[in-house]
Amino acid sequence: MKVIDIKDLYKIYEDNEAEVHAVDGISLSFNEGEFAAIVGPSGSGKTTLLNILGGLDKPTSGEITIGNVKINELPPSKLIDFRLHNIGFVFQAYNLIPVLTAKENVEFIMDLQGRPKAEKEKRTRELLEQVGLGDRLNSRPNRLSGGQQQRVAVARALASRPKFVLADEPTANLDSKSTENLLDIMEKLNREENITFIFSTHDPRVVKKARRVITIEDGKVIKDEAIR
């Protein structure tokens, strides 16, 4: 089943007369349960593509259909709600809310969704246990290592039961052991919850874990291969 469908996507920046084609005519689709990596050199347009996919940025032209909603047509206020209910985000710099504990950070999304308390607590505990932080529920981010913080971020991204999770270079700030650990957890969640993960990376060890690798260069898809 198709989760995301992108058609003829362009993102053109007008930068002091010179035009930058950050996304230059990409058409792609993602199915439920995919575990896909987007790779490419710096400046190739990975972040731009993910931001548009996540409804954070508007394309210059083209269509993005998620479920059956064309998100490029949604007004900004609707888009916020759409993100809240459909997309999970993991950022490079973890970006947890520093005044909230691990548990509260995960609950935060469900608070915004207005989920009942019992459900919130149950899911939070489950998720944090799944990412191996069942014993750190009440720690604030500054008491957690980078790897632990990013695991909380993954739990937070999944809390809303999104259609898919976007992660822009989630391991860029992590050492190799934490990287491997995080990828294992992401993959496990991907299998268990059947949630689509799309992540960009520079790291060959991360690429190795992906089951689909999309290579882009100068805003174009130059290779799209399924692994195994």
Binding site: I97, L100, I109
Partner: protein, 405 residues
């Protein structure tokens, strides 16, 4: 997590900065409470002095009297009249006066002045008239002598024991003429009062003007002057439409004007203090915001509406103001309480002037609620003003640029 709770935690992300900002508000609140308390204390003492000097807090007249000042606009109080007034809550004392104009003559000299008929005992309780008797003696009830204000006595070369003719138009056009002995000379601290005229016992004045038991005014003293308008209304209701009830500030608007002018001057000083503090809070809020731009962008990215973020920031700003107010009051109230009980004595040079006017030479303080309410409103207004910054910033910030920064 509830918005107000998250805001509270955010407030303590940089403890020291928050504490310094709150301390600045505390300082402003303390200073302006102190200033306001001193001002209000001074004003109420001033009002008390003015009022006890002559007018009383409230007077009751015949409806036409205040405009005409005519001896025809008098009324007979009757036996129930003073009882009704004295039974009104907040009233401490009421007493009659009969005042009108008259010609004073010694043969060589003639002068127009007021003849004020008083109840010597009650009058003295309030205005302490007897303390101004420079020569001779104060009136006794039923006395048939006169007390003459100093300037008039001087101009007419009158001394205690001399006699003087009073000539006037009495009630309904009757002719009033009588010979009075001078019982005492009054030396008031105010030149205006020293030209006022002569005092007589009210019964004698009634005989002179042929008004019998009728009077021109009832002077009323109250306990709490902040409830004056209430008391005025109560009295008005009890007495009905045949009487006009006036408060001291309606009779002497110039004093209230003077107070208002002084208040306006002090407002400027307080405004300066608060503007400085306002910028202090603004600085803190700007720093809090700039440190958190990315974090706020992330919140929007994961699905938090900007309105909710604005709400959180509003609570944060409000907390600073609120803490400042509460701590400011906690600090100032005990000191004010003490000062209300122990007014500060004035330095000797100033004390002389005060004492000459028969006033206590002290700086008085007040704890009336406006002293506090005004600070609350001001800090609240500043909070709202400062809050415009996060409001506009969050409403306008560009999501992608902030996320990428």
């Amino acid at each position: 997590m509830k918005t107000y709770k998250m805001a509270w935690r955010n407030l303590w992300r940089n403890k020291r900065r928050t504490l310094i900002t709150v301390a600045a508000v505390v300082f402003a609140v303390f200073l302006s409470t102190f200033m306001s308390s001193m001002q209000e204390g001074t004003y109420s003492k001033m009002i008390e002095n003015t009022v006890s000097f002559y007018s009383g807090y409230i007077q009751v007249h015949h409806p036409g009297y205040w405009a005409s000042r005519s001896i025809n606009d008098v009324y007979a109080p009757g036996p129930e009249f003073f009882k009704k007034i004295d039974e009104t809550p907040n009233v401490t004392l009421s007493f009659p006066r009969l005042e009108s104009f008259t010609l004073l003559s010694t043969g060589e000299n003639t002068k127009a002045a007021a003849l004020i008929g008083i109840d010597p005992v009650k009058e003295n309780k309030v205005t302490r008239l007897s303390q101004w008797v420079e020569a001779g003696k104060y009136l006794e009830p039923g006395d048939d002598g006169l007390l003459v204000a100093k300037n008039i006595a001087k101009q007419m070369s009158l001394n205690v024991g001399d006699t003087m003719v009073l000539l006037s138009t009495g009630y309904h056009g009757s002719t009033s003429a009588a010979l009075f002995p001078i019982k005492g000379i009054l030396n008031f601290p105010s030149p205006q009062m020293n030209n006022i005229g002569v005092y007589a016992d009210i019964t004698k004045a009634g005989e002179f003007f042929s008004t019998g038991d009728m009077i021109t005014s009832t002077v009323i003293m109250v306990d709490d002057y902040t409830k004056l308008n209430h008391t005025k209304q109560d009295i008005g209701k009890k007495l009905g439409n045949d009487y006009s009830v006036m408060t001291w500030d309606e009779m002497q608007p110039e004093i209230m004007q003077m107070i208002e002018q002084d208040r306006a001057g002090a407002v400027i000083m307080k405004a300066i203090i608060y503007i400085v503090i306002g910028f202090g809070i603004l600085g803190t809020i700007i720093m809090m915001m700039s440190e958190r731009r990315k974090e706020l962008a992330i919140m929007v990215a994961v699905g938090m509406k900007r309105g909710k973020i604005i709400k959180t920031l509003f609570f944060e700003t409000l907390y600073i103001g609120f803490l400042g107010i509460v701590l400011g009051f906690l600090l100032s109230t005990p000191i004010m309480l003490w000062l209300v009980q122990h007014p500060i004595p004035l330095p000797d040079s100033m004390a002389e002037v005060y004492e000459k006017f028969g006033f206590e030479a002290k700086l008085f303080f007040s704890l009336h609620y406006p002293v506090f309410m005004n600070q609350i409103w001001t800090v609240f207004a500043i909070t709202i003003g400062v809050f415009l910054y996060p409001l506009v910033t969050v409403a306008r910030f560009k999501l992608i640029q902030t996320l990428r920064s």
